[in-house]
């Protein structure tokens, strides 16, 4: 049994190496009924692979398991059901992974593991849109407490605007990024580009950090708002950069840096847009500045344009 266990352990390392090289491979975990242990196999493409050769030693049952089901067409319900094949624990794990980016810790490899889902991106964007609208409303209510002359209205149209902006960002920017990476595919031999769904997933989960940030922006202290904004932007953009770095590093230097800086810039624009819609960049778009800032700061405020 020692030899068999060694074989199983050895196989796991091989599987991770194979996965690094070909991220499009499908990983499956099967509990083999004959040997009653679990092992990971990597099926690379449709040809007989390294993992499969070892499986054939264990009997015909595994050969049956290896048949891949034909991919259902995009007009069937099952096609879309395959994108929602996640458990609660997996979604929570992915959210945690997006909150704590580490260099070299690739979100796609470690957390997605070739099973990207659409649940996370869709509901994180929806939550962010509604939280933005609710917080904007609350900011107005708090301001009205201090200055009854501000006319309060629920401002329901903010939900629509916020929702459309966030969904467009979370779907169109990954589309552009994916298209660009595919176009530059020729330069790459080590690692293929991410699929469209993986890119959407990365972007969607990276937006999660903005949800608590938007709630914390209720605190009417200017420098604290900038601090929270910078912190959220750093974490979120770092996650994106660390994920994209392995794919982009084989490209030429100027293209790589241009791509990464564009990604970060667009993310920063989104964060600024959120802050602007809530409290204004200089703290005074929907609220008059003399409500939030003490009187001795007033002369400085009037020097800034547009507030």
């Amino acid at each position: 049994m020692a030899a068999a266990e060694e074989l199983a352990f050895h196989e796991f390392e091989e599987a991770t190496n194979l996965l690094t090289e070909t991220p499009d491979a499908v990983t499956t975990i099967r509990s083999d009924q004959l040997a009653s242990r679990e092992h990971v196999s990597v099926v690379v493409g449709s040809s007989v692979s390294y993992g499969a050769e070892e499986l054939q030693e264990e009997g015909d049952k595994t050969a049956l398991l290896q048949e891949e089901k034909p991919q259902p067409g995009f007009w069937t319900f099952d096609y879309y059901q395959s994108f929602f094949d996640v458990d609660t624990a997996q979604v929570l794990d992915r959210i945690k992974g997006s909150l704590l980016p580490r260099p070299g810790h690739n979100f796609v490899q470690h957390h997605l593991r070739n099973r990207p889902d659409l649940y996370g991106p869709f509901w994180i964007c929806a939550t962010l849109a509604f939280v933005l609208a609710v917080t904007g409303n609350l900011t107005l209510v708090l301001a009205q407490r201090q200055d009854p002359s501000i006319h309060y209205s629920p401002q329901f149209h903010k939900v629509t605007v916020a929702g459309i902006t966030i969904y467009c960002y979370a779907w169109l920017v990954p589309l552009a990024l994916w298209g660009f990476l595919r176009w530059r595919q020729g330069m790459r031999e080590h690692m293929g580009p991410y699929s469209f769904l993986q890119t959407v997933c990365v972007y969607g989960y990276s937006l999660f950090i903005f949800i608590p940030t938007v709630v914390l922006w209720l605190i009417p202290v200017q420098w604290l708002q900038w601090l929270f904004g910078a912190l959220a932007l750093t974490l979120s953009a770092a996650g994106l950069v660390f994920t994209l770095w392995p794919v982009v590093q084989e490209d030429t230097r100027p293209v790589a840096t241009a791509l990464l800086s564009t990604v970060v810039l667009l993310h920063a624009l989104l964060a600024l847009g959120c802050k602007e819609s809530l409290v204004g960049m200089w703290g005074g778009t929907i609220l008059s500045p003399d409500v939030l800032l003490p009187a001795h700061v007033m002369p400085m405020v009037t020097m800034w344009p547009g507030s």
Binding site: F77, F84, T88, A89, V134, N137, F156, H157
Partner: protein, 219 residues
Amino acid sequence: KYQFAGLSDISISEDTPVEGEITIPMRSRAREFDSSTLNESVRNTIMRDLKAVGKKFMHVLYPRKSNALLRDWDLWGPLILCVSLALMLQKSSVDGEPGGGPQFAEVFVIIWFGAVTITINSKLLGGNISFFQSLCVLGYCILPLTAAMLICRLVLLAGPGPINFMIRLFVVVVMFAWSVIASTAFLADSQPPNRKALAVYPVFLFYFVISWLILTFTP
């Protein structure tokens, strides 16, 4: 062929009439039932539907794990609740300013598209509830929030103020919790256990948005 051996002895003489009656009780009763609902008065038809809707309201108010809401679904209750909620959320259109509360159509769209999105989400996650059953449950569980809206409107008649706001906040929070618990009692069982939270969270978000609409309403 041996089981019919005894029958070969039976002979029927030609002058004995063979007659009888064949009645199929179920079919004749069904036919009677059909004609009776066609001929019944309009009042009976309406009362029957109203009683079904009322029975479901009772199930929402006292949520137990029963299947009555799921078995015979209907969308009359949700429609009545949605329309009354949307009507109550209308401001008086004396001051026609743009940045105001939600319009009737906006509330309607939020409720129905929200319910459809949650249903599609729960089906995509692998739940075994049918589309209209889920819409039915989500629509009926708006009942506590409609009651909260009614109470808020009555409380607002007394004039604005902090005590006023605290009462409204308390009522809306209690009704929101009631809605979420009632709908979870019906919907959570249809999901595999490791995905229950994923299916319940959108329901929470949906009722939260409706509660926010109710709480921020000013006449």
